[in-house]
Structures are given as structure tokens and as C-alpha cells.
């Protein structure tokens, strides 16, 4: 088996998920200058909702190939509602408060959502039902399976769709205008609150997709799964340059690759002293390195221009 190629494939799959989640962080940051630390929990909610819907649909005898897209759509709708509610209840009242207030609130929302999820779905790991055959394919000595192929293709399609919305539609123009100057956007007739709500909902819909992808890929979902995933996706957004959409996608893919290659080679490189359980270290090593050497990220502007 070719370890290098295998780690590249794993990295691209994981990176696609990070990219989708990082987009949610970066869209909200771009428009409000706020880090929505509850975003990881929206990913978790997406996974849990999809899983519940899927289990229910299957038990009613719905065909798996129909149940999968239906539960994805239900999870997306649920997460959009959740994202809308989070902004409306937790962040909007603090729109003009000092920056620390919404940040602390975000952490609070995150804890509330985790506990709510624990009350609804319990503390146990939930197994993701095996719906499709998940055929493995051998490519040049490495393995990629059906779910992984679907993850990468869906991520690419969704990201392309998002870029079209942001750069080619009137809504996207309004989003970019609000991100740049809320007062001027109002003078153009833009309902700023509506655009902010839509931004949260779009980011949350992407989070729902990512949540379903992660749980399908690992076969598991858990009320706490959003925490680490959220932090890593935030790292990816910072790596690419927070506030920058292309940066979030690039950062997500790079972080996935770094993690996967790091986990694959740390064993041989340290003579077996450290193993792939150190995988998580790489993401935060990257975060620290970016913050020290290039705080604006790969594609970001200098921070002074944003403030």
C-alpha cells in the first residue's frame, strides 16, 4: 500500500469537511467581525439531526437512497433554523457591544447546545447506519471508498455553488456590501439584519452537510463531536485568512492534508515513539505557527485594514 497517496486521499476527504465548516466561520466573521464559536455545535446538530431522520425513515421502510438525501435536507433545514435562532437570540442584542461580549456569548451558546444535544441524544456514540455498500476502490496502491468520493464531489459542488451565490447574485453582492460598510449598504436599500440572518443560515446549511459527511465517513456521531471539529475548522479559516472565502477552502484542504500526512509519517519519523494518535497536535501546531508568523493567514489582508 502506498502510504503517501493514501494519506493524500484521506487528507483531501477530511480537508473537504474542514473547508465546508471553515466557510461558516469565515462568512460570519467577514460580515460581523465575530467568531461564532458555536459553529462547531451546529455541525454536531447537523450530524445528529441527519442521523435521527435517517433512522426514522429507514424504520418506516423508506429506501436508503431516498432516505439519505431527505435526511440531509431535513438536517440542513434544522441547522438553518438553529443558525437563524443563534444569531437572533445570542448575537443580535450584542451587535454594538464590546467585542469580548459576543465572544463569551458564543462560548456560552456552544455549551448550551452541547448540553441540549446530550439531553436529547444521550452521551453514547451513535452508529451511523450502513446504507450503501461503500465499495472500496484501489487507486495506485491506495484505497478510496464510495462515501469518500461522494464527500469530495459534494464539497466541490457546494463550494462552487457558494462562490456563484456570493459573486454572481444580488444577494451575494449585498452580503459583500454589508461586510464592507453596513451604513452604506443600508443607504442602498439593503435590509442589513436580513442579510446577516441569511449569512448565518447559509453557513449553518454548509455545517449540516459537513456534519453528515463526518458521521458517514467515520460511522459515528456524538454530542461532543462538534467541539474538536469546530476548533480545527476555525484553525483552517485562520490559516487561509479569516474573512476570506477562498482562504477558508484553501485552509481547510491544507489542514486536512497536513494532519493526515503528519499522522501518517510521525510514527516512522520518530521511530515509533509517537503514533498517529498525535494527529490532533498538528492542527493546533499550525494554528500557533500561523498566529505567530502570518496572523492574517495565507490569503488574508493585513488585519489593520479590516478593523
Amino acid at each position: 500500500m502506498d502510504i503517501f497517496l493514501q494519506q493524500i486521499i484521506n487528507g483531501l476527504v477530511q480537508g473537504s469537511v474542514y473547508a465546508l465548516v471553515a466557510l461558516g466561520y469565515t462568512m460570519v466573521y467577514g460580515i460581523l467581525g465575530l467568531i461564532n464559536f458555536a459553529h462547531g455545535e451546529v455541525v454536531m446538530a447537523g450530524a445528529m439531526l441527519a442521523l435521527s431522520a435517517l433512522t426514522a425513515l429507514i424504520s418506516w421502510g423508506v429506501a436508503p437512497l431516498l432516505a439519505l438525501p431527505v435526511s440531509l435536507i431535513l438536517a440542513m433545514a434544522g441547522c438553518m433554523l438553529l443558525g437563524f435562532g443563534i444569531e437572533r437570540i445570542a448575537y443580535r442584542p450584542l451587535r454594538h457591544a464590546p467585542r469580548l461580549a459576543p465572544l463569551i456569548t458564543a462560548i456560552g451558546v456552544s455549551i448550551v447546545l452541547q448540553n441540549l444535544a446530550m439531553m436529547i441524544w444521550g452521551r453514547d456514540y451513535h452508529a451511523f447506519p450502513q446504507l450503501i455498500k461503500n465499495q472500496p476502490h484501489y487507486v495506485g496502491g491506495a484505497i478510496i471508498n464510495d462515501i469518500q468520493i461522494i464527500i469530495v464531489i459534494m464539497a466541490v459542488v457546494i463550494m462552487a455553488g457558494l462562490m456563484i451565490v456570493v459573486h454572481r447574485t444580488s444577494l451575494g453582492r449585498a452580503m459583500r456590501a454589508v461586510a464592507e460598510n453596513q451604513h452604506a449598504a443600508q443607504l442602498m436599500g439593503v435590509d442589513v439584519n436580513r442579510v446577516i440572518s441569511i449569512t448565518f443560515m447559509l453557513g449553518s446549511a454548509l455545517a449540516a452537510v459537513a456534519g453528515l459527511m463526518v458521521s458517514a465517513n467515520y460511522g459515528l456521531a456524538h454530542y461532543y463531536m462538534g467541539f474538536l471539529l469546530g476548533l480545527k475548522a476555525f484553525t483552517a479559516a485562520v490559516l487561509g485568512g479569516i474573512g476570506n472565502l477562498r482562504g477558508a477552502m484553501l485552509g481547510g484542504l491544507l489542514l486536512g492534508l497536513i494532519e493526515s500526512l503528519g499522522a501518517g509519517y510521525i510514527g516512522p519519523l520518530t521511530n515509533g515513539f509517537m503514533g498517529s494518535q498525535y494527529q490532533d497536535v498538528f492542527a493546533f501546531f499550525v494554528l500557533i505557527a500561523v498566529l505567530v508568523f502570518r496572523p492574517s493567514g495565507l490569503l488574508g489582508e493585513r488585519l489593520a485594514e479590516r478593523a
Partner: protein
Amino acid sequence: MSKLEVNGLQAGYGGIHAVKGIDLHVEPGELVALIGSNGAGKTTTLKTLAGLLNPSAGQLLFDGKSLHAVAAHQRVAMGIALVPEGRGVFARLSVAENLLMGAYSRCDQAQINEDLARMYALFPRLVERREQLAGTLSGGEQQMLAMARALMSRPRLLMLDEPSMGLAPLMVKKIFATIREVAAQGMSILLVEQNARLALQVASRGYVMESGAITLSGSSAELLGSDAVQRAYLGG
């Protein structure tokens, strides 16, 4: 047609009253200047009319309808447009996208395209810069863009805040020629300027504002001839 009426307007930031009870009106098709020195409350007045600030007292009527509780973005659809101080162009949007933002509250695609063509005819400089990011334009070009963008909403009342600020004399001339042209087409215009002579040369009437109150009003000719205005604003 559109008529603006302001009665006893008070507005400010926090506890500070920048505008202390002013009355003014703009008749349909009229070009009215609001002049006064820095900090007199002119910008605050325009911001309140546009809905960016809530008045603490007073009445705003547009076409006889109260603007009370009408949000800023809804006033655009009613026909009120403001070209803000400092222009407020979207630097990271292209020139064409900025113009389309001006038409945000309209959905008549064919007429929007027509108006785009009209704006490019009115400001030929913008045509060559169509795909450029607005942040790369010169100050004068940005002022043109800001005006064109405001006109894209098909306003019935156009408010301009210091259009001459920071511009080279030649550019100021161009901008004011355009203001004249737009006024000649019958649009109501409320023009705020520190450059009193320039403003009164294009306006038919004017108000003089001093520390939040209107101290003098009259036809442009009267104001240009008045001793008080001469001494305070025209350096004579």
C-alpha cells in the same frame, strides 16, 4: 412629485444634541443648499433624513407621509437617496457592482440596464473603469460613482453630503456641473456644502446652519448678498 418637510427636528449622538430643532422644506424639483461650518449639524441632519439616525424629536414628512418608524433601507424604496460624506463606495466591489447595489431595491431588470447605460453616459469616466474595484478609483471618480450609484435607485429626493470635499478644483467643477444637470431634469435635491459660494451658485434657495440651528434662510441671491453670510462663509 416629491416634497420634503422637516418640522422641529432634533437629533444627536448619545446625549449630545447636534441638531436642535430645525425646520426646512424642499419643494418638488427644487435644489436647496444647506450651508454652514464644520460641526454645525448638517451631516447629522442628512443622516437623520436618510434613517441612519433616529430623531429625538420632530416630524419628517416625505410626500406628506411620515418617515417616523420607516427604516433606512425602506426609505430608499420610497425615493430618498443619500450620497454620504466620504462617499461610502464599496471599495472591494467593482464599479459595475457598486452601480448595481444602487438598484438593489428595484427588480425591473430592463429599466435597470437602461439606467446603467444612462449613468455611463452621464459619467463617461466610469465606463473604462467598469470592471475595476471601486477602491482603486481616484477621489473624484469615487464621488462620481457614489452619485451615479445613488441615482441608480431612481430617487425623487437626492441628498448630497459635501460632494466637493477633498477634490481637485477641476473635479469639483465637473461634479457641480453634473448636479446642475440632474437638477435640470426635475429632481429634488438637498445639497450640504461647506463651500457656501459654490453651493449657492447652483441652488435656488439656501439655509444657513450654525451649532445645530438654522440661523438664516432665503433665496440664493439673498444669501450671497447678505453681510452675515459674506463675513462668515464667503471670506469677504
